[in-house]
Symmetry: D2
Subunit: 115 residues, 4 copies
């Protein structure tokens, strides 16, 4: 049976994937694409690791915790980069990444406590 926390985590991971995909697409349409390169690169990595993590959590994989540690790291890096840019899509992506970092940390903490 899946807990509320898990359902919520999956929802947050998914929001982060779509925020990253949207951010990458809109960065490519900005006038100064050159300044957005690092942002686009992190968006790609972040969307991919969130996608993997959400599926490992959904399938209750014994490897979910390790993958989530890496997810936290990449989300944090993506947040830090996006937060530097004023574009609306970057700000929204930074927010989604931060929410993701927090939810992943919460989930990991709950696993450590209950085991």
């Amino acid at each position: 049976m899946k807990s509320e926390k898990t359902n919520n985590l999956e929802h947050i991971l998914i929001k982060c994937i779509t925020a990253c995909e949207t951010c990458a697409t809109l960065c490519l349409q900005e006038d100064h694409v050159k300044m957005m390169v690092k942002c686009i690169q992190l968006d790609r990595d972040c969307a991919d690791i969130c996608a993997l993590t959400s599926r490992f959590v959904a399938r209750n994989s014994p490897h979910a915790q390790h993958v989530m540690r890496e997810c936290i790291e990449i989300c944090q890096a993506c947040h830090d980069e996006c937060a530097k840019h004023e574009h609306d899509h970057c700000q929204k992506c930074a927010e989604a990444c931060q929410e993701c970092v927090d939810a992943c940390k919460d989930w990991l903490a709950s696993k450590t406590t209950t085991m």
Copy 2:
């Protein structure tokens, strides 16, 4: 700018991915796995096509509509198989697949109308 309909669609696609992953995992733990084989196989395909579709929609890809047609087909097949089984995870997965089929059809209809 992303419409409410698109945000909602992405949310429904994601719910379907996690329902499929959960269903496949729990099918593997059932006493009569043998009877669940087709269900597990469809769960894998369905989760993958929904994942692809959600990312094509999020990135506003010109290929989103084609991919979505295939998504509808696989979700429908997954629904039909899951609906045959009484397990709670199968029933929930069938429901998520049906919701996905409906949302994808709505989205496609809205695209046809506005173009």
Copy 3:
């Protein structure tokens, strides 16, 4: 039992994924990123559909043929865009996409004949 043709197809799909990922990464490092935007966008879609197709083929999914038709379409579009650019990574990607289109068409033709 998997045929030689299938093993070969999977290998070609994979080469195309890595060519697309590499091309997108190097496009982002070009001086005139602005001119490479369409190329980067197609690289993302192409890598994703090839990844899905290779897994549907590997798992012998009944949906492999439909997905492959979309794969051919996206690979063709990616080839046509990449072929316009003189960068080495674009030329290599165009070549990998063309090889992919040909291999997918061969595979589809072999399925139609043997059924």
Copy 4:
């Protein structure tokens, strides 16, 4: 410019994905599916982490090394489980996983040396 080692690694990761997908599909068709459950579960995780790793390597991501460490761990677990079963697809999958573990370790070692 991509080295021979990197091209080879991507090829090996891909072979591992297809070996895992094939193994999971054929495990589901075995008479004693019940005995193959852990194998199927590991096949799913292993295919997914190899897919992520191959794309991070192809796009030259700064996060490739961390992801690869997790890839080694999951490939090793998948190898150990597959190696217990006499089915041809399990033996082939165990072999592909081992090859993957070795190639990833080589690649990581080469990164540490050159930096």
